[in-house]
């Protein structure tokens, strides 16, 4: 990681930031990155408020399932989602076909800003909704009752009771969504149409791969890191992190005042979000089962890509998990001895990666390795390393609390019984916190399976993964084959996730 950064620094020419600022093209892509991220955030978070509000008031059949679905959009490989969106809103998608029946041309194009916004809202709206819903559900039932006693309903109730609770969480959610959109790579790559809708993230890739302009690539990568770090700091200042609950609490309260308008209002929002999230996913499944399915099964490229994807994801997830556990073992050791400051530092270093876009790390490693060897023969090592690094913050986030608790409870017992190292892990940790460990592994696995930013730079004819293959097929308009890959990726990511959750839940330790 540090090596990657230093390679970037070495490669960027001295007259860096000023020349960057003077170039109208770079100025445009910087502005565009902010602009699209801002719009995406406003749309995602703005729409999430009424939806979360409606969901918090209503109980209906399938609500739990819908919330599960919301959770999957974040682990869904980006290209699969994009494929689903294209097959609905694209030039030959469902809507276009429908309009074609009435001799109506499609009034919009999914390529460019429209598509980028649509995809970002598709991915982030459910995520934001879930987070906001959690904070709404944290309002004690007593307060709802009190509001009813005092005759505070509807708009006033929202303003006096619900809004303050939402407001606490809002900066946090908005900040997270903003960063996610700002650094989005695969979406912009698949849907951005030409230089007009290019983000910094994509410009880094293009500078290296399209123009062989290593200096600009390095410079842009540093610029991107600088902006991301600035953003992260800015967000940290304005929001206190609120602990996220893993599951949505089942606290119910009775809706004391209800009227037709409120019912319609809520129905409208819930219906709208279902209409946004569900059809693309369904389309992936429906169009995936087609005539090409059989021929794809005999396609050697497909198997190679699948093999590579699995291999990379398993390796990356293992490395991320191991590194995460080792980091946490040392940080909790310090924490128990009152060296909180040192522990925080260590965990912070590992989390910096969250704001360092994958493409920046890959670029640095690329430049570093290029000096000494043929980069492309080391490709898979690098891709694994980058994916592992990118998954690390998620591992830390999932495991930090449970690991610390374990140490608090069992450290002295273990010391007195003489249970150390591997045995300790096997008999104590694994039994008690198997579920979060497996969960962390699953997250890392799914993130690596769907990743495009590392492989985009290092991939080649001999070395593809499923997302890269999907991108190539999309590019050459082989929609049917692309549909099959998208389906496989969907099954692989969401399926793995669901399966692992199920397996670990069945056998509580």
């Amino acid at each position: 990681m540090l090596a990657a950064m230093s390679a970037l620094l070495v490669h960027s020419p001295e007259v860096s930031l000023s020349s960057l600022w003077r170039d109208p093209y770079y100025r445009h892509i910087t502005a565009f990155s902010f602009y699209q991220a801002l719009l995406s955030t406003l749309l995602s978070v703005g729409l999430a408020i009424p939806i979360a509000h409606a969901l918090s008031r209503r109980y209906f059949f399938g609500k739990a399932l819908l919330l599960k679905l919301f959770a999957t959009t974040l682990v869904l490989p980006v290209l699969v989602g994009v494929f689903g969106l294209i097959s609905i809103y694209g030039n030959s998608g469902l809507i276009a076909q429908l309009l074609n029946h009435f001799d109506y041309p499609l009034p919009f194009s999914i390529y460019g800003l429209n598509g980028i916004l649509l995809a970002h809202v598709f991915f982030n709206l459910p995520f934001a909704t879930r987070l906001l819903l959690q904070s709404l559900q944290r309002i004690p039932a007593e307060q709802h009752k009190l509001a009813a006693h005092l005759g505070i309903f509807h708009w006033h109730k929202f303003k006096l009771l619900e809004w303050p609770s939402l407001r606490q969480q809002l900066p946090n959610v908005a900040g997270l969504v903003f960063i996610l959109c700002f650094t989005s790579f695969a979406t912009v790559m698949a849907l951005g149409g030409g230089p007009k809708s290019t983000t910094i993230e994509l410009a880094i890739y293009q500078a290296i791969k399209f123009e062989f302009d290593l200096q600009s690539g390095a410079l842009l990568a540093l610029w991107q890191m600088f902006l991301c770090a600035g953003l992260a700091m800015f967000i940290q200042r304005f929001s206190r992190p609120v602990p996220l609950m893993n599951s949505v609490s089942r606290q119910t309260f009775i809706l004391f005042s209800d009227n037709r308008f409120a019912r319609c209002w809520d129905r409208f929002w819930i219906g709208a979000v279902i209409l946004l999230v569900l059809p693309p996913l369904l389309m992936v499944i429906i169009s995936g089962v087609n005539a090409q399915l059989l021929s794809m099964i005999f396609d050697s490229t497909f198997w190679k890509a699948l093999g590579n994807s699995l291999f990379i994801a398993v390796c990356a997830a293992c490395i991320a998990l191991l590194a995460g556990i080792f980091i946490l073992i040392s940080s909790r050791f310090w924490r128990l001895r009152g060296l909180n400051f040192r522990a925080d530092k260590l965990e912070l270093v590992a989390s910096i990666i969250l704001v360092t876009p994958g493409i920046v790390i890959s670029t640095g490693l690329f430049l570093l390795l290029r000096e000494s060897s043929d980069v492309f023969s080391f490709a898979w090592l690098v891709v694994i390393a980058v994916n592992a690094l990118m998954a690390l913050p998620y591992v830390l986030k999932t495991l930090a609390q449970p690991m610390l608790h374990m140490a608090q409870q069992y450290d002295q017992l273990c010391a007195s019984l003489g249970i150390f190292s591997w045995y300790r892990f096997k008999f104590i940790e694994w039994r008690a916190i198997r579920q979060p460990i497996v969960h962390a592994f699953a997250i890392s696995f799914v993130l690596s399976v769907g990743d495009l930013s590392a492989i985009a730079l290092f991939g080649s004819q001999d070395f593809t993964t499923l997302p890269l293959y999907l991108l190539q097929l999309l590019g050459s308009y082989q929609m049917q084959s692309a549909a099959v890959i998208a389906l496989f990726l969907l099954i692989l990511s969401v399926g793995t996730f669901a399966l692992i959750e199920k397996l670990t839940l069945k056998k509580p330790a």
Partner: protein
């Protein structure tokens, strides 16, 4: 670190070339694809060299050069096939290429061929191809396409990755000169999308996503000969058409210099050249018989070109001009 070393050694081992007698040729995807000239050429060359010929396909011509530059001295490539005359000076600058020993006197290009590093393998003229059943009144000149015809949707390729895209940029530059920037702005209004490579763009056009696509005057021959379809034609522009000579070149770091030399000689042989017209759908560079359908194709009244040096000197500035015009 101790544990990583064997791992690196292992990975280096499995990435070593397995066959001792293998020639690796980097080319663009439509050349290597099943319906391109690649398979026939592979078969013919393997019969005479008793070796294996491997095509590595990349998005388009400029990508081939970029890929080599990214790999640097450790590249696996022995020969690059699919750069063009406009890229020659820039490619030479990389210092990664080496001169050929081919006798190029057979080349029938106007003015012959004297370059010591590159060997031409085909040539053609860029043109916009359209379906005359869908577009009965095509523009008669580049200026008409750019300045009027607001209802026409076009697709072209990215000049940073594709030789046709780069050719279009040079075409615009040679017709518009200093006014190129405002021409690009007018083109932007008609552009469906800018693709990375030629095949992507042409596929999109055939799916009906645009009225015209940047390709070659020779592209309609494919539809006439292979599909017996006559509705696809290349628009004839009165300013003249920008010319392209596609070239091959040897890589300096290659360990298969002998095989590479043999392949470079093979490029100008009748076996190679006779596949070009109906495989790559371009004009061959030696005197081989052309299919009679080629007579139906439009022949540009004037051929436009910059020298390779002019392109190398200005390429980056012109690409920036294109980028900036699109974002404003």
């Amino acid at each position: 670190m101790k544990k990583i070393l064997p791992l690196i050694a292992f990975s280096a081992m499995i990435s070593m070339p397995v066959a001792a007698n293998k020639l690796v040729v980097y080319t663009y995807d439509s050349f290597a694809s099943d319906w391109g000239p690649g398979p026939k050429i592979k078969k013919a060359f393997e019969a005479q060299c008793k070796c294996e010929l491997e095509f590595v396909s990349l998005d388009d011509g400029v990508s081939i050069l970029n890929r080599l530059r990214l790999e640097g001295k450790h590249s696996k490539a022995d020969v690059l096939l699919g750069l063009d005359n406009n890229l020659m000076a820039e490619a030479k600058k990389s210092g990664l290429l080496v001169e050929h020993n081919v006798d190029t006197s057979k080349v029938i290009l106007k003015g012959g061929w004297s370059d010591k590093m590159f060997v031409p393998f085909d040539y053609g003229y860029f043109a916009f191809v359209y379906n005359k059943e869908k577009l009965p009144n095509p523009p008669k000149s580049l200026k008409e396409l750019v300045e009027n015809k607001d209802n026409i949707k076009i697709i072209y390729q990215d000049p940073r990755t594709s030789t046709p895209g780069q050719g279009f940029m040079l075409w615009i530059k040679s017709v518009y000169g200093e006014q190129a920037s405002s021409a690009w702005k007018q083109i932007a209004k008609k552009t469906v999308t800018v693709t990375k490579g030629w095949s992507e763009a042409y596929n999109m056009f055939l799916k009906g996503e645009a009225d015209m696509v940047l390709s070659y005057t020779t592209s309609p021959a494919y539809h006439i000969i292979a599909e017996n379809k006559h509705q696809y034609v290349a628009a004839d522009f009165s300013e003249g058409h920008y010319a392209q000579v596609e070239v091959a070149v040897k890589v300096k770091s290659s360990v298969q210099q002998k095989l590479a030399d043999q392949f470079m000689d093979f490029i100008l042989s009748p076996e190679f050249q006779s596949v070009i017209a109906t495989g790559n759908w371009m004009y061959p560079v030696t005197d081989v018989v052309l299919p009679k359908e080629f007579e139906q194709l439009t022949m540009p009244n004037k051929s436009l070109s910059f020298t390779a040096q002019e392109v190398a000197d200005n390429r980056r500035a012109w690409i920036r001009e294109w980028q900036n015009a699109l974002v404003e």
